[in-house]
């Protein structure tokens, strides 16, 4: 603790707080489930509290969560930050309070970390590279000069920008034209509306690249409604179960698997390692794999 607070009774086991971007999204749910399963197996090693914010972009609420966990005097915070810079001040305070902080999923801004003279180990995938590889897989089925459109997440979200950038990298490399890039705020219905409009406006469109699978589901609906099934490919990101069904059925071409199930577990193990051994683990990039019908 930071002050002379009376320490409440505790079991003596380290208490780990897992702070997610959202617990209303399959990807993070998987992550949390993985963590819970791990904790159940190692119940003697640590206690686990899982929290997520209501709205994936609500930075303030996530900062509040970190503070609340600090107030609860947890020993470890494993966090998937909603913003790569906005969480840093509070993370630093947590570190100063003696809490072990591990960064998962969305990487803290390295420059900002450096200026703050802070070191927080990172475990997670590279969204941009993942999107790039999904884009390349798609590009193999297209030809230079073909037209595609990108449907992005909430415009200011870090991973939304990363994924869109990855898609753009791949398209540029393959010489495919991106005719429009629009945001659909990660939402299925919104993506359906946007995709339908894009399809109307671009009769020669060959593919829709969506920054997550929810939006890909919306795009698939729009393609079907426009009667262009087979003519327009759709790719997504996250590999949620519904997307797997679509890929199997040929409505979607590909998605990206980030092994979310293990992501939080890696983070927790890193933290426990710091606690128990006092070592300072290196960053660890977790794999991202492209899932197409061939992988299912």
């Amino acid at each position: 603790g930071d002050g002379g607070e009376p320490q409440p009774e505790s079991s003596g086991k380290p208490r780990v707080a897992l702070i997610m971007k959202s617990l209303a999204n399959e990807f993070f749910i998987n992550m949390a489930a993985g963590a819970r399963a791990h904790q159940a197996e190692h119940a003697d090693r640590y206690e686990l509290i899982v929290n997520g914010i209501k709205n994936e972009s609500d930075l303030a609420q996530q900062v509040a969560l970190v503070e609340q966990m600090m107030a609860s005097q947890v020993d470890v915070i494993v966090i998937a930050p909603a913003d790569s810079q906005g969480l840093l001040p509070v993370a630093r305070r947590a570190v100063e309070q003696g809490i072990v902080v591990v960064n998962i999923d969305n990487r803290f801004d390295e420059k900002a970390l450096a200026t703050m003279d802070l070191r927080i180990p990172f475990v997670g995938p590279d969204n941009r590279e993942g999107a790039y590889r999904v884009g390349l897989a798609l590009a193999e089925t297209l030809e230079p000069g073909d037209e595609v459109a990108i449907i992005g997440g909430i415009p200011s979200a870090f991973n939304a920008r990363q994924r869109a950038a990855g898609f753009r990298d791949a398209m540029a490399e393959a010489g495919i034209a991106v005719v429009t890039e629009q945001a659909a705020d990660w939402e299925q219905a919104k993506a359906a509306t946007v995709a339908a409009a894009i399809l109307n406006e671009n009769p020669a469109l060959d593919a829709l690249l969506c920054a997550n699978d929810s939006m890909a589901l919306g795009a698939v609906a729009a393609v079907r409604q426009a009667g262009r099934r087979g003519g327009v490919s759709v790719v997504g990101f996250d590999n949620i179960s519904a997307a797997r069904g679509l890929i199997a059925g040929g409505d979607m071409f590909a998605t990206a698997e980030q092994y979310g199930h293990q992501l939080a577990v890696f983070g927790i193990e890193y933290a426990l390692q710091v606690l128990e051994e006092g070592t300072d683990p290196a960053d660890r990039k977790t794999p991202v794999d492209v899932i197409t019908a061939a992988q299912l």
């Binding site: 299925q188 409009a197 179960s241 519904a242």
Partner: protein
């Protein structure tokens, strides 16, 4: 004697049709592909859910209530149907009944609590917004369910007609709701309750019961919206319909329905839905940037209602001729 009041009814639709026409014209000038059958089919596929939800909202606003829970209730009902069909293996009709029943139950809960304890419906439905969303996460375990062709028949265009069953049902709902409002005792009671609830109560109307019924209808229509959404997207997403209450209220209010009750028209709400849908589709087709979309949408909402201010004097002047 000419029934003059009919001409001056607040539900004349002149101003809205003008706004709609202007929007279509503008987008057609900007994009070669806007004024095409494809666009209008797209629109026709997108609006059924918002349409029926706006109908329910019109009724709720008419009795001076508000329903913030429609988006969550829609998601909950769609989620329930999705889970029952995918995980439970239920046939579509059975799941459909269960989904509609869930919507009805949510709406009835809203109505009974707010009417019986005289709590502002804003608060009750705000509570329900949270509760139903929680329910949607709970039943789906926060995972989207893909249903595929099993529900396709709802949203796919009927051969020969080019319109989906969802749209047809939505149009029927609009027509029936407008008829109920204008031509039945039920409709007059709603207007009376919205105008002067105390006087309505004194006239022997069981205002609480009618209001509860109205919220139940709104819940049922939210569930129906969920069915349409399910058919359209062929999947059940527990995060569906976030913020939908504001879109629905915007459509209804653009349609000239008063937020303080007693004045409203279902047909005009439908025109409000069309204005919103045309705007969304048009802006997306033009590929306007996100900030631009937001700013234009906001401005159009205000301008539509502003123009509407001039609708009544105009109609009155026409009527005086």
């Amino acid at each position: 004697m000419l029934p003059r009041s009919d001409i001056r009814l607040p539900w004349n639709s002149l101003g809205l049709v003008v706004v709609l026409g202007l929007l279509v014209l503008l987008f057609s000038l900007q994009s070669d592909y806007f004024f095409t059958g494809a666009t209008f089919r797209t629109l026709a596929n997108q609006i059924p859910a918002l349409t029926v939800i706006a109908v329910g909202m019109t009724y709720v606003l008419l009795v001076a209530g508000i329903d913030l829970s429609v988006g969550s209730v829609m998601a909950l009902c769609a989620a329930l149907m999705g889970v029952l069909m995918v995980d439970g293996g239920w046939p579509l009709p059975a799941a459909l009944v269960a989904g509609l029943a869930a919507g009805l139950a949510c709406g009835l809960t809203n109505g009974v609590i707010s009417a019986h304890w005289r709590i502002p419906s804003f608060v009750v439905t705000l509570g329900m917004l949270e509760i139903a969303r929680g329910g949607a996460y709970l039943v789906t375990d926060s995972q989207t369910r893909y249903l595929g062709a099993a529900v396709g028949a709802i949203g796919d265009p009927l051969p020969g007609l080019g319109l989906s069953p969802a749209l047809l049902v939505a149009l029927v709902v609009v027509a029936v709701a407008q008829f109920l409002l204008l031509r039945t005792v039920f409709g007059r009671y709603l207007v009376a309750i919205g105008t002067n609830e105390e006087a309505a109560r004194l006239s022997g109307i069981n205002t609480g019961r009618w209001k509860a019924l109205v919220f139940a209808i709104a819940g049922l229509l939210a569930a129906l919206g969920g069915v349409f959404q399910l058919g359209y997207l062929q999947s059940a997403d527990p995060n569906a319909g976030i913020g939908l209450e504001l879109s629905a209220i915007a459509a209804v209010v653009i349609g000239g329905t008063s937020l303080s009750g007693g004045r409203g028209s279902v047909v005009n709400s439908f025109l409000g839905v069309l204005i919103i849908a045309v705007m969304q589709t048009g802006l997306a087709q033009l590929g306007v940037s996100e900030p631009g979309k937001r700013i234009i949408t906001g401005a159009v909402i205000i301008i539509a209602v502003l123009l509407d201010q001039y609708r009544e004097p105009l109609a009155a002047r026409l009527a005086r001729r």
